[in-house]
Symmetry: C2
Subunit: 448 residues, 2 copies
């Protein structure tokens, strides 16, 4: 088989932002009170001569803080450090987040842990607060950080911090690796108990991109000036992350560094949200979930080599867990993803991926999987333009598919796949992209 | 991002056999007594004008029979039919296997089940034995079989059956879909209790290939003239399949039709192997496992778009299950597979895939994963030419990798990755291939 590699080229994290992505980059925003942010150039990665790679967020007062970390057994030093910090501080007394891109500080042993602590301590000293800095890193793994260079630039990052849209944009840019556009959103909201107070939330994230020789890392920072109590922070963040950053698939690989953090400083005033049974909590939880999902979708929009944005909705499921596993299995299947790239209405592959989502691993006894009943299963495409759905499988029976209509739907960049299981009333939604030649180019060819 | 699709071409199941694969196709063989096989042309798939697509195996006497089927919840009609047959017959009284390619008879409802039964019954009538035929199908899903055409050709398949190498080669060819070469091996062996008797085993398989709009299907038929009792057949086959056909990964998708069947007719005589505690059983189990693994490796050699044959060995593991899950996770990772295609010694991605192999799914609490201890983990490349191993990670610490040596090793078609966990004495071996531009072309572009 002849492979003519030279035909393929992919843009690898280079500026400028591609024309098609400009619509995802805001020109203004409303940012939470009391937070100052910056993104400055250090040159963490050899060869980086200008891209900002050190990001700092500080609050002018103490914050409640929580984070969701990767479950990968090989956890990077900043993950270990930050997890311990939040435990020790019982989710209170957080002032800063310091992040470097260009080097993941992963698989770096005791020295790496010292480096992470050093980044935090240097930030703490500037801010004037002990044990109050969350640390994140993304980039190459297995190499020690150029730590002196980084800590030498932290005062500069602190000095340049501010609260304007431009500051937030620099902050967002500094955590990017091979992302083709910075990912920043902000929003205003109110809480039922203080209808007269206007709260703000802002968030940045970076997506599935990699630099040789390392892996995709997802980092997220969410900041709000609403008064959320430390005690409810972990629960509200976990709820939101499960339905946003944990509901997207680029390639199914989970990195050593994945971290999503939420800081709430209460600078806008009002009554503290301290009970999970309150209307305020409920409102904030829904707001945070939707906000996180909107941010997470940008990662999918920027998936490596992606040409499609695909929503997978699994409904009428016996349990939410079953719905999620089925959605994840469809989102992860290389056969489904290449069919989407090829604009092929291949419901057989969708069904197949659903059918093996809940089965026991090879070598284990067959399990029953009551969550799926073939005769009750329905699969449809929902067109992005609001036109009628295209039924592919109805109660386990294949429909005679209008191929012309299917092609029309698959020509659009956005697509929704709905799987109706007919075995309950639970549901889930998952976002994914396709697998293209460019994905292989970006992840396979960059060293050749 | 510009994608210039026209640059890529992939051979889709067309003859002739690629030059590089000819070494995997035997010119002769030693076949088990009492079995006759054939492969004839029916034209199951519209557009197929000459490729044999109906395969028949019959035994001149009753066989013990067993099969391992897909666990996919959407099971094809021939899977449902054959599973029930083997249950009803308690693994005894089997005479034939009838297989069509070009249509999977999957998601075809009650009519599809009737078609599978009709194929079996027509075969039974020719052979002169009731309820004795295993049925398999592979190809397009969601479409009814051209059943009349198929049953009309079964007498011809029976008529053409024979026991020569050419007959076995036709039998192997007739089950292929997008395979680039037929997969057939045969071997002689003896059992301890009858050292004077020469037994034979032969097997055919087909691999991970797909025709629009359907999915990869793995079919295997193993036949021996050794006298294996029906009672021990399921156990011996399961042992072998777990360590062969269940230890290979092309893309991680498990089809609706996967079936591996073993028939033993005892035609060579000797003492029946009826106890799992006997030396004969032990010998046969090891023979069958190695034989199956050799056949399974051909599927990896013929993986769609594959340019590399990769052995993943996970050793010093706490449990065999943990070793297998870790090997599967590495084999399935698109990041690992694209790095292998790019000839990149990316141990970070290997480590990453190991690190998330055993973690709980998103939304579930963190589990401990005692099977992996970062400081005890070692990763090496074993060169295919027998030269010294290249250590990438030693006791959790990255080695200074000689990139030139790494490139040398990765230039070879064959590669072995060894992961030493240091947490026990269990091990596993898994075979996989890389992800290339051609994989995307074959699975994404064929309809455009």
């Amino acid at each position: 088989m002849r492979v003519t590699r030279a035909c393929y080229s992919a843009t690898l994290g280079s500026s400028p932002i591609p024309q098609a992505k400009l619509k995802f980059v805001p020109n203004s925003g409303t940012y939470p009170k009391g937070f100052n942010v910056s993104g400055v150039f250090v040159g963490v990665k050899p060869g980086n001569t200008s891209k900002p790679d050190l990001a700092l967020l500080t609050s002018d007062r103490s914050c409640a803080g929580a984070a969701v970390f990767t479950k990968n057994k090989f956890q990077a030093a900043p993950v270990t450090f930050s997890r311990k910090l939040l435990q020790t501080k019982a989710n209170a007394g957080i002032r800063s987040v310091i992040i470097n891109s260009g080097n993941a500080n992963a698989v770096t042993g005791a020295g790496g842990l010292e480096d992470a602590a050093n980044m935090a301590k240097t930030t703490d000293q500037r801010v004037g607060s002990e044990d109050s800095t969350i640390v994140m890193s993304t980039g190459v793994i297995g190499q020690r950080l150029p730590i002196q260079k980084i800590v030498d630039h932290i005062p500069m990052a602190y000095h340049h911090a501010g609260d304007s849209h431009k500051h937030w944009m620099n902050f967002a840019k500094a955590i990017c690796t091979t992302d083709t556009f910075p990912k920043l959103i902000s929003r205003k909201f109110t809480l039922p108990s203080s209808p007269g107070i206007e709260y703000s939330i802002a968030g940045i994230t970076k997506g599935a991109g990699m630099i040789a020789p390392n892996m995709a890392t997802l980092l997220t920072v969410l900041a709000t000036d609403a008064p959320i109590a430390p005690t409810v922070m972990p629960a509200v963040l976990k709820h939101a992350v499960d339905r946003s950053f944990n509901s997207i698939t680029i390639d199914g690989d989970a990195s050593t560094n994945d971290t999503a953090a939420l800081l709430a400083n209460g600078a806008a005033g009002g009554v503290e949200v301290s009970s999970q049974d309150s209307a305020d909590y409920e409102t904030f939880r829904e707001l945070l979930t939707e906000f996180s999902a909107d941010l997470a979708k940008y990662i999918v929009r920027d998936g490596e080599g992606a040409t499609k944005f695909v929503t997978i909705r699994v409904v009428d499921a016996a349990t939410e867990e079953a719905a999620r596993e089925i959605a994840r299995s469809i989102a992860r299947s290389p056969l489904v993803k290449t069919a989407l790239y090829g604009k092929d209405a291949n419901w057989g592959r969708i069904l197949c991926a659903a059918g093996y989502a809940l089965i026991s691993p090879p070598g284990q006894p067959i399990n029953d999987v009551p969550e799926i009943v073939p005769e009750k299963t329905n699969v449809s495409f929902i067109p992005a333009d609001g036109s009628a759905e295209l039924k592919l499988l109805v109660d386990g029976e294949p429909e005679q598919v209008d191929e012309e209509r299917a092609s029309e739907i698959l020509e659009m960049e956005d697509l929704e796949i709905v799987v109706r299981l007919g075995t309950g009333d639970k549901s889930t939604v998952h976002w994914t992209c396709d697998f293209s030649h460019d994905y292989v180019t970006i992840n396979g060819d960059y060293r050749t």
